[in-house]
């Protein structure tokens, strides 16, 4: 095990080190049938050759639009799905052939309120999974106690899960995933349905895991969450990784300098097309905000595009014009909407 220094600059670990998670050209197709009389078979290629490595102790984010293949990728890594082709290993163990060993060293939490025994109390749910994960009986009580403390459910553990709110269920899930003190933790949209205060606590919990030296793979649709937490991020679109790097590297992909925001009223598509070919403009994305359309314009490093862009908008009503630093969301939106890739 490598020693890791605190903070978020740990990402790069020498290549000789076994990666905590390694995916090599992972592919997965789903076959589905529809129709009762005339069955038509259709194939969905959910993951099309995904490769990445996560170093031990790294917090890795997998971002992408709905249906991009994030959950499918995770399910292959946690042994619930067999890849159609390609291979993957967790802590050096193959996820297809070394199933038992992989399972005992990873934790898995998905978002949403399913996956719990409604008729049992929170405590009994944790007890059940402690047994299935072979947590030594003597350690169980203390372990469950400290996890309840960690996720803020102390005092509510005696109630049946059917009476839990969504956020409480989500916290219970996280406690469940940590019962056996896994080395690698897979979190698939863990912050879904959690209130802002709870989400902040959850981020602190996840950051705490990283500080303990655990490897974490996180998917989320909240860009600030990914920006705050992740050492490195891969953006996946239609089953393929389209970009990979630290949050700052990704932001630089969009714009080395600043982002120009222009408020407009009723901007036309042909105007946008015209702006997109302005020299120095990398991308133009429209954000609808009620009556307004905000044009988010990213530019090449060093290019001065404000004047040409405003010039191109002469027949459009223009409101406030401002500059700001690029956010991860800018990078993300550009990466997943870029045509052709």
């Amino acid at each position: 095990m490598p020693s890791r220094d605190p903070g978020r600059t740990v990402a790069r670990v020498p290549l000789t080190d076994t990666p905590a998670v390694q995916a090599r050209d992972l592919r997965r197709t789903f076959r589905s049938r529809s129709g009762i009389w005339r069955q038509t078979r259709s194939e969905v290629e959910a993951v099309k050759g995904v490769s990445f490595e996560i170093a031990p102790g790294e917090l890795f984010g997998l971002l992408g639009p709905n249906g991009a293949g994030k959950t499918t990728t995770i399910k292959m890594l946690i042994t619930l799905l067999i890849p159609t082709s390609g291979s993957a290993s967790v802590l050096g163990r193959d996820v297809v052939t070394d199933v038992r060993e992989v399972r005992s060293r990873i934790g898995y939490v998905f978002g949403g309120d399913r996956g719990l025994y409604e008729r049992l109390t929170g405590l009994d749910n944790l007890r059940y999974f402690s047994e299935l994960y072979g947590v030594p009986p003597r350690e169980q009580r203390a372990r469950i106690g400290s996890l309840l403390e960690l996720v803020g459910l102390t005092g509510r553990e005696g109630e049946k899960v059917e009476g839990y709110s969504r956020g409480m269920r989500q916290r219970l899930h996280i406690a469940r995933g940590l019962l056996h003190d896994p080395d690698v933790f897979f979190l698939d949209e863990p912050s879904i349905g959690i209130d802002p205060v709870g989400a902040r606590e959850l981020r602190a919990t996840i950051a705490g895991l990283r500080d303990q030296g655990k490897t974490v793979l996180l998917t989320t649709h909240y860009m600030f969450e990914a920006d705050e937490l992740c050492d490195r991020i891969a953006v996946i679109r239609s089953g393929e990784i389209v970009a990979e790097g630290t949050p700052d590297e990704l932001k630089e992909l969009v714009s080395a300098g600043r982002v120009l925001e222009v408020e407009t009223y009723g901007v036309h598509d042909h105007v946008l097309d015209r702006l997109r070919v302005v020299p120095g403009v990398r991308s133009v994305v429209v954000e609808e905000r009620g009556q307004l359309q905000v044009l988010v314009v990213a530019s090449e490093p060093g290019a001065e595009v404000t004047q040409p862009v405003l010039g191109g908008l002469d027949e459009t009503r223009v409101g406030r014009v401002s500059h700001r630093d690029p956010t991860l969301e800018d990078a993300y939106v550009e990466l997943v909407t870029r045509t052709g890739a």
Binding site: F30, I82, S104, Y108, R119, L132
Partner: protein, 256 residues
Amino acid sequence: MIRLRQLAVCYWLQLKILLFSPFEGFLAVVFPLMFATAAMLVYEVGGDPEAILYAAIGAAAMGIWTSQTVSASTLVQRERWAGTLELVVAAPTRFSLVLLPITFAMATIGLYSVVATILWNWWLFDVRLQVENWPLFVLSILMATVTIALFGFLLSVTAVRYRTSWALGAALEYPGWLLCGFVVPLDLLPAAVLPLSWILAPTWAVEGMRASAAGESPWLDLAICGLVGLGYAALAAYLGVRLIDSARRDATLALT
């Protein structure tokens, strides 16, 4: 050691789930009694005490069968609906060891339903079971309960891969009454279906119950019953591994 503890804790927690589930509770308490009542009323018309005893024993076994085949065969399907199927499969414990305590929790409910049926018949119809050999009779009841649970276990394992196989368990509920000879002697069935009766362990368990009640030796029946039951368990354990692999290939663990 840890294995045993694991089985015991899981058994206890699963029993809690079953006891707190109103649906199961209703099935376990009311259905067997209703069926027992119907069977008794039919046989009472004849007034032959031997036939009434026959019906009383059959009705007791019928209670276990009814309360267990449906709930056991829907077991995996219910885990799937709850979203816990993936989680238990992702745990390092072998899947058959996850299902086994659940099966025994169900058998416990089944056992309860036999006792309830016997007491009910006693109280309502004044049928005092004339049992020559109580220890063997109780053993036969236990065998019936466990093997019926194992049968449900087998059905439920197949539901890991074949999502609709739970319906088979439901469909078997009523034919099972006839095939296992609970209330109608097997001699009345067409010879062609007899092999089906023979591979159903409860058939032998009920024979054992009747033999020990009559003071005859139930050992042969119980031995066959045990063998068939072990066969179910072995087949289920074997299929468990194969079907989970196939479910991982065909992505049917998460689908509702």
